[in-house]
Amino acid sequence: MSEALSSKITVPVMADLFAKGEKPEYLFWVGCAGAFDNRYMKVAKAFASILNHLGTSYAVLGTEESCTGDPARRAGNEMLFQMQAMTNIEIFKMYEIKKVITICPHCFNILKNEYPDLGAEIEVLHYTEFLAEMIKTGKLKTDKSKLEGKTVTYHDPCYLGRANDIYEAPRFVINSLGLKLSEMHRNKSFALCCGAGGAQMFKDAEKGEKEIFIERTEEALETKADVIASSCPFCMTMLTDGLKYKNKEEEIKNLDIAELVAGALI
């Protein structure tokens, strides 16, 4: 590994580069979870460490980043969403940002599909697409021996899978790490939601017989995989809660694909 994830890492900030007259190729859109959620901050760090390892020309917005407005829009608050979006788009224009990489599929979806309606002219990649491309072109090499023999099940985030038909890129990355993929009964376009989408992340579920995240966690446990992998901060929260509920958090790891890759860099 190029940088120990336990120590501070150096992440270029857009405003600093701009002051020096530099224009990085990519904006790494960290997202609220990457910035503030204790668990997902580690994923943001893991992904940044991969970018540093690759020597990618990128920067983050830092304190200039603000919510995409996704939870507001999906909770019906179109006004708040559009105010957020227009503010963010102005920042994209100010820094002449053309390419954006996100770790969160919700940010990915809204930036890619919905911001153009409000004037954004950006190419948006989810980090799993970016990593798959880097591996395919031979720029990113991984040490297969680190994870070899372990089985992993991959939970498709709705906003990556059904919403944007990205099923293969994350699986390609998992396979390239030498992991054995054990699919859940409902996978790819049939995958069951973790229960967090559409702003559900931020509220209690309506009353029912069961929590959605428990249903999905049980399905993941049926695969007998050593690792439950995902590529979304909200899925991470839900599945981690599910593992805790089932008292399995010691035995089974819930890791993000970025963490799997960051741990196998050579």
């Binding site: 501070k8 992440v11 900030v13 960290v30 609220c32 910035a35 503030f36 959620d37 901050m41 943001a44 760090k45 940044a48 983050v60 830092g62 304190t63 980043e65 603000s66 919510c67 939870p71 507001a72 999906r74 909770a75 019906g76 608050n77 179109e78 006004m79 708040l80 559009q82 105010m83 227009m86 503010t87 979806n109 599909n113 919905e114 309606d117 409000l118 709705c158 906003y159 059904r162 919403a163 944007n164 376009s189 049939f190 939601c193 229960g195 967090a196 989408g197 559409g198 992340m201 931020f202 509220k203 579920a205 309506e206 009353k207 029912g208 017989e209 069961k210 929590e211 959605i212 249903e215």
Partner: protein
Amino acid sequence: MSQIIFSVLLAITIGIFAYSAFRIYQLFKLTKPAYPVKDFGKRIKRTIVNAFLQERIFRNRIAGIMHALVFWGFCMILFGSIEMVIDGVAGTERALSFAGVVYDLLMAAIDIFAYIIAILIVIFIIRRSLLNIKRLHGKELSKKNHIDAYIALSFILILMITLAGMNIFYLAGNSDTVGIYPVSSLIAPVFSSMSGDTIELLHNINWWAHIILIFIFANILPYSKHFHIFMSIPNVFFSRLTPLGKMTNMDSITKEVKLMMNPETAFAAAPEGEAAPARFGILDIEDVTWKNYIDSLACTQCGRCTSVCPANITGKELSPRKMIIDIRRRMKDKGNHLVKEGKDYADGKSLIRDYISTEEIWACTTCNACAKECPLNIDHPTFILDLRRYLVMEESAAPAQLNAIFSNIENNGAPWQYSNQDRLNWTE
């Protein structure tokens, strides 16, 4: 004589159907715009793949194959029905037989499909009545919905039996027949001992029964869930081409936000001459888009959407199928009054609360499983999100926890209450 009777019956059929179609057209006039329909090339391709090749239906393998066989059979039989109408009006016999080999193959396909569909319909009746298939028994399905299903199945079964009967007695009564009838030709010899008159009578009974049933069925359909037969292909054709994750932009809001964010116009009076939309989002039937309404007409209540809904699977109130059924129910209850009595008609009810509870609306995770599963590309999430837009922007009636994230996003640019100054803490 029979030509006159037939022509009169046909005229009545077309007349009643035209009346039903006109009423539906008037209901469509009440709806709001959804999106411009363009990209006809893509739409034609999608219609071929989703409708004619039945792509989505195969997500449920066994039920999918059964449905596809019925659909493809109907496509073939449609040509036979057209021929019957020509024969009936013009007094011709097998007017399309000039097509030679094509005609032979068409007749062969129709003959085989008639028996296959008849068997499948019997299986469908058994499945619906005896097997406990969960998706066919949601609590949103009333007794009327179940009767509706059995009426349609019975009609189709009798249509197939009379179609087979026509073929059998046509073969039994004629030595020089046109067309190929692989299955009926095996059965026809059983009746060869009957007199020529009896066979002709039986043929005519089947012929007339078949075509009259089609006429009746066609006029029941606009009032049945099996309007599906007419509306599903248009519904696929008109379905949105954007990724499932994309929500439609509210341009009226964009205008307001732009005025607000521009320092020159922020405090100015609203420009004159531009009427603000009557309402943000959907409260009642006059707020739905034409796509919401065509979705509700095309839905045959198969329940695939509800069977994959994470909220429904875990026992929440939400059923995407119910939402779509509710659109059609509300249009029936209120739309016709709006047409007759004008835009100001009110019955003291609305789609939200009297038909769809706020609990259902807030239970959706917008995971798009329903929309992905629907073989007709019905778009449930777009509708649900428009209901939320009404609740939030017109009534400020979001659940308290969501109001909290709204103020967090407004105040500190994140759904959580953290300072923007801490946005780089993850690098530590």
